[in-house]
């Protein structure tokens, strides 16, 4: 052996060390990689995570267990505190209504596990968390969904984006309505859905909604106090026009009830066009919609106008000079589709969307311009 050692050169030693290092590196790589199978295969090979409602309720029948929807396991630790708070707002019982199981909680990653493709609506609007719970109300079943959105605007976007026409105004909230079997409303940054599996459940729907609103009240009151000074100013007529939100600025004549909507992102399919309120008008305006978007500055309003103008022209619309249009307005038409009118007033982007003809488009644009002038927004 000693003779052999004497034959080893520095180059040989270095080469062998390099080979050994390479082998060790390969071994380490294999050790790290070998448990990392294709995730799809992994999922197929292991037991799927138990879904809500699978576990039997203590003391309950199998059928009762099947009807129950216990809390979803595995919610993220990061969102846990927030979601637990949200879930705790869903009552255990109200008169005539009793919870069937614990609340479930969902975050932006898991929302589609509950509502599938409808999650897109909430995520696009600005979704933070959701809690839901099932209740027994007489012979019926009621589902309660409480969505925590990132802002009141986001809540309104979720609310208005799926507003059912012809519904009854709810006495519980300004932004609230009842259909034959369901109640929908917003409260600050929260959006509430209470859905029964049959008609005739209005007392149960309202009782549940009231209980949730009562839980939300402390936060709402604190916010209201903070805003009370501003409201007092508004009542005295001293509210600056710049503080008025778009919903307060649309002309009232001809406005269809419950037609106000907010597109938080990609309004009218235009990427980058954000926070646009629309309000639909009746036949006297050809069924067209007025649009308003408050921006941070007049320059931003003009930039948004230009963005949307370019989007329309890219899609075949042609700009034309039209006498009688509001000052500085851009009028775009596409045969067979309709007329769009766009203008800015200070930080506001304003306009008319999907007017059937030029006459009604100009009529609504003028009415909108006049309404803005009446509020002191004429520049």
């Amino acid at each position: 052996m000693a003779a052999r050692e004497r034959t080893i050169s520095t180059a040989q030693r270095n080469a062998s060390l390099a080979v050994l290092a390479l082998v060790c590196a390969i071994a380490a790589y294999l050790l790290v990689r070998q448990p990392q199978l294709n995730p799809a295969v992994l999922v197929s090979l292991r037991a799927p995570a138990p879904k809500a409602g699978v576990a039997a309720q203590p003391g309950g029948s199998v059928a009762a267990a099947a009807l129950a929807t216990p809390e979803t396991p595995g919610t993220s630790a990061a969102g846990g505190a927030k979601q637990a708070t949200l879930a705790s707002l869903l009552p255990d019982a109200v008169p005539g209504v009793k919870a069937l199981a614990a609340a479930e909680s969902f975050n932006p990653t898991t929302l589609s596990d509950k509502i599938d493709g409808k999650a897109e609506l909430y995520l696009a609007a600005g979704f933070a968390a959701m809690a839901c719970r099932s209740y027994q109300a007489g012979l019926g079943r009621v589902e309660l969904y409480l969505y925590r959105m990132k802002s009141p605007d986001a809540a309104f976007a979720a609310f208005s984006g799926q507003r059912r026409q012809g519904a009854t105004q709810s006495p519980l909230a300004k932004n609230g309505y009842l259909t034959e079997n369901a109640l929908f409303l917003t409260s600050g940054s929260d959006y509430l859905e209470v859905i029964a599996d049959r008609t005739g459940q209005r007392p149960a729907l309202e009782a549940l909604a009231k209980a949730v609103l009562a839980g939300l009240a402390p936060a709402r009151e604190a916010k209201a106090e903070a805003q009370s000074g501003t409201k007092a100013e508004a009542k005295s007529g001293a509210q600056p026009a710049a503080d008025l939100s778009p919903p307060d600025l649309f002309p009232v004549a001809g406005l269809k009830a419950d037609s106000l909507r907010l597109a938080v992102a990609d309004a009218f399919g235009c990427q980058g066009l954000t926070s646009v309120y629309t309000a639909e008008y009746d036949a006297s305006f050809g069924g067209a919609a007025a649009l308003l978007s408050r921006r941070k500055s007049p320059a931003e309003a003009k930039a948004q106008l230009e963005l949307y103008r370019r989007y329309l022209t890219d899609n075949g619309f042609a700009a034309q000079a039209v006498p009688g249009a509001p000052s500085g307005a851009v009028v775009l038409t596409l045969e067979g589709i309709g007329v769009e009118v766009l203008f800015t007033r200070g930080p506001l982007l304003a306009g008319v969307h999907e007017a059937p003809d030029l006459t009604t488009a100009l009529k609504l644009a003028t009415a909108l311009d006049m309404a803005l002038k009446a509020k002191g927004l004429d520049k």
């Binding site: 034959t7 292991r46 809500a52 009807l67 599938d116 008609t199």
Partner: protein
């Protein structure tokens, strides 16, 4: 103490210090070790990869879940019948009789016996995605499940089973939708999506579709074991992400795992689903159509009574007709055209010369 000279400066290697014999010995030893390693690796190689927990359907999993269309109709235009039902004036029912509608449509296509033969083992792919009442129209109606099951059994089917991998808990979904009860009463077996029923499946490319998204993806293959005929029973719904949820989107319920990753390419995945399984028949239930706020809906005002049902061998044609019920152009659900491109059916249902039937006439 000084270091030995050969450690500080190793001597130059000279040919005399490594004899030919030593070299050959070392080379032989190294080769033997290398060959042993290669041989061992070859002996341990599993060319098929890890086995599924239940290798059911392993033979078909690589090529999807199977083609259950009638052999004599393959490569030919599909067949289709569209029937309008009525609510009898003296009836207290809010909806027309789905069984009567189904029988009328099937009669126009030669009767269910043209599709289901004695001894057939039939699998119904229902949409039980949500734990909601059938009143909300988000799932396959239990009356349709009962009607199809009883007609299949009457046609001599050896067995009828139904399955889905719902969004919510399977037990709750099948119970609350009324499907479990309908199945029990009519003689169908409900197959819940147990873990052992999922097998990695790939969809082979066809045209420019397939082989991209569903690759070794856990798929509900177990219920297909031994099945000879497949019937899809689907509601007609608006779908926020996909534009519409009807027959092809119904097959989304055959996917397992974290399938919501596919929402990023919803049209691509639904087009691949059209290749995943070729049903024998498709029943598109437009008795009540969810026009808005799909796929969950929630309010009865999201629904519209249309009292229409389509029965066809072509799932793509079924969906193109469904788009008409929704009042939308076929292009508003791009996956329909993609599925047609892949050869899964015809995106122009009128090309099938459907028979229009009216129970009220």
């Amino acid at each position: 103490m000084s270091a030995p000279e050969h450690e500080a400066t190793p001597p130059e290697l000279t040919p005399q210090e490594l004899s030919r014999r030593d070299f050959l010995k070392r080379a032989a030893g190294a080769s033997a070790i290398a060959l042993t390693g290669v041989g061992l690796a070859a002996a341990l190689l599993d060319a098929n990869g890890p086995p599924a927990s239940d290798p059911v359907g392993a033979a078909t999993s690589a090529k999807g879940l199977g083609d259950y269309s009638l052999p004599e109709l393959r490569g030919k235009p599909g067949r289709m019948a569209i029937v309008r039902g009525v609510v009898p004036a003296n009836s207290q029912a809010a909806q027309p009789d789905r069984k009567a509608m189904l029988e009328r449509a099937l009669a126009a296509l030669g009767g269910l016996g043209a599709f289901i033969k004695p001894g057939d083992r039939v699998l119904l792919k229902v949409n039980a995605a949500f734990a909601t009442s059938p009143l909300l129209g988000a799932t396959t109606h239990p009356d349709l499940v009962a009607a199809v099951t009883s007609l299949c059994l009457a046609a001599g089917a050896a067995s009828v089973a139904l399955t889905d991998n719902p969004v919510h808990s399977p037990e709750s979904c099948f119970a609350l939708t009324g499907i479990s009860e309908a199945a029990a009463k009519s003689g169908a077996k409900v197959i819940l999506p147990g873990e052992n029923l999922f097998v990695p499946v790939s969809v082979p490319p066809s045209g420019n579709i397939g082989g991209r998204l569903i690759r070794d993806w856990p798929t509900l293959a177990g219920p297909f074991k031994g099945v000879t005929k497949v019937i899809a029973l689907s509601p007609v719904k608006d779908h926020r992400r996909a534009g519409a949820s009807m027959t092809l989107k119904n097959f989304y319920g055959l996917l397992g795992g974290r399938r919501n990753v596919f929402h990023q390419d919803i049209n691509g995945i639904i087009a691949e689903l059209a290749l995943l399984v070729r049903p024998t028949l498709c029943v598109l239930d437009g008795v009540t159509v969810m026009l808005t706020n799909g796929p969950t809906g929630g309010s009865l005002s999201d629904l519209k009574a249309m009292h229409v049902m389509a029965v066809t061998t072509d799932p793509v044609a079924a969906d193109s007709f469904g788009m008409e019920l929704l009042g939308r152009a076929v292009t508003e659900a791009p996956y329909i055209k993609l599925a047609e491109t892949a050869g899964a059916g015809n995106a122009d249902y009128k090309a099938l010369n459907p028979q229009f039937l009216d129970l009220g006439a």
